[in-house]
Symmetry: C2
Subunit: 401 residues, 2 copies
Amino acid sequence: MKAVGIIVEYNPFHNGHWYHLQETKKQTGADCVIAVMSGNFLQRGEPALVSKWARTKMALAAGVDIVIELPYAFAVQAAERFANGAVMLLYALHCAEICFGSENGDITAFLDAAKTFLKQKEEHDRYVQEALQKGLSYPQANAEAWKRFGLASLDLAKPNNMLGFAYVKSILQNQLPIVPRTIRRIASNYHDETFSHPSIASATSLRKTLQGSAGRLEMIAPYIPAATKQVLRQYTETYGTLHEWEVYFPFLKYRIMTAEEAELREIAGVEEGIEYRLKQAIATASTFSALIDKVKTKRYTWTRLQRTCTHILTNFTKEQQNQAEAPTYIRLLGMTENGRRYLQHVKKHLLLPLVTKVAKLKNDPIYRQEKKAASAYAAIFSEPLRTQVLKEEYATAPIQL
Amino acid sequence: MKAVGIIVEYNPFHNGHWYHLQETKKQTGADCVIAVMSGNFLQRGEPALVSKWARTKMALAAGVDIVIELPYAFAVQAAERFANGAVMLLYALHCAEICFGSENGDITAFLDAAKTFLKQKEEHDRYVQEALQKGLSYPQANAEAWKRFGLASLDLAKPNNMLGFAYVKSILQNQLPIVPRTIRRIASNYHDETFSHPSIASATSLRKTLQGSAGRLEMIAPYIPAATKQVLRQYTETYGTLHEWEVYFPFLKYRIMTAEEAELREIAGVEEGIEYRLKQAIATASTFSALIDKVKTKRYTWTRLQRTCTHILTNFTKEQQNQAEAPTYIRLLGMTENGRRYLQHVKKHLLLPLVTKVAKLKNDPIYRQEKKAASAYAAIFSEPLRTQVLKEEYATAPIQL
């Protein structure tokens, strides 16, 4: 059996994802699609709209065969660490190919860029540092560096190109036996907040429309599969809310206000004296957006700050981040019958332990952070729901379809 | 002008406090009564029912002339540290006498006990340690030790006797020029939860009746002055709630669940491996009472655990506790015209700086903890009220009557 890996967040799963999934199957002819998916918190430093279990249901309903959790220590990270964590998991599962969506759509551009980068890494880094010192943001500086090295054809200021580049780089750098592929994304840019296509819209625009409540589910119905709609409706009926930063703000504010600057300095992502800016701004910020607006600088962008705030909320330290070099386990969130067959097929050759019961992981530092993230994610619920959701983290069996 | 000092929590101010205040004036003939009062959190490790400002109003309305804040670092502490902090503040304000309520009512018993204790300190401590190891709680062990030394006439298992003993001991130990006095408390034991006197009831029973809402204010009306009733009513109208542990539980749970054991171990009061018991119990505890019930042991009593949980909530570390040897400032919460005259009279001779604007204290370690406590206290309010309450901590001028 041949497996293809994809790297996803499904926040929520929409028609664009569906298109990518079908094209992936068609173009690779794989027997099994394995998705590595972020858990409670996402790459850009946001809480996931609904739980990992709910998003696993969406994925399986759409035709993904196996859903694996990308641990927090790799999920809530800039492109390079995010990509390395995901690629190493897909490698451990013996995926023959990895297929990602990109604005570019041409794998040669990615391979060229990655090869050039690996050759010229030092020179590139020096150039980025210089551009940062001139006051450019990191994505701008990176794009500038690429122009300088004659690779402007791959626009790395576009998030999906940047991620794709990171996947390919990780494969080449680690000399993994994985073939990278890319499919051009259609109709919608990554962060588009407007709807211009009859059935495709970005996850960002869908979340904006929902704005933390499923009341407006009908409005996004044209852009999501029926299963997504059903799962979102069911989630809201059971848990009473969708998850977004503003709902977590009371806890973030409590934590920043009662922490000393020196404690904040130990948190992953807290650099360049941002702890003083956070402490200064928090007392008078009454929303999360207001806080970020007050604190952000040219170099400390919105996304970087969101990520840092997520680490503060979940208490993820630099020490923990440094210790987490690569995934140490494969956590199965869900599978289809076909997925089960694939796992049977490879189970003796997996490069990391396959875990369905997380109780076994209680001394694993990477899982300990997952548990803290799950605790923070559940904090917004009233009792007894909160206790129930905390239990779900370790008691939920893999979703089966 | 002659001043008498009293040490109070007024949670809330009731007729028993009123009786103590009038008797103090009558028996000492002082021109001015100075109350040192706990702020947002109290000696037994609980949030104060209403803010320090509201309780200051109750005190001034009843005839206290000056209200001074006992800093968090001394307020949320066992008897000895609590007493030392308060006594040193009253000494810095040149109080000639200190007058406390007690179950015993005879100052000679306290003086004898304190003198004996200071003579036999080592022997006493050794005896207490032995009793603790036999499995007794600290109050029991202490009482046992006293019996052994022939001082059973002063029952130190009674909280107010224990506090009174600590005041007298502090005066003698520091050789302060302060005369201690005591007034026998009438009609109600410290923690009585029943009402047996027509107009006197314990603060504990009053809080139990209110149970976090002012809806039952009429029921406690016979036991409190009209001013207390008015302040409680006004507070609930403005802030929508009274403060009690259960309302803070979501934040405590969030904090314990996202903290590592090693971090909890740095918090004041976390001893004897209680961090493991807390981490173990918190996930399935859906109320504060349930948590304490699960975690408490013979040696780790309810009050001690409450205090520890308060330190976790406000992030008060052992290091901060060790650094706070004695008060470093006199924070004025309120005064009457008479109080103002007294302060004019002594202002050149005060032994610590008198502070009305706390912005000046921003680098004072003891005040930094006060600010963290105030932040935690305000955490339960929704925005924009929360931001307003945070501002009150530093922007409220001393209450004047």
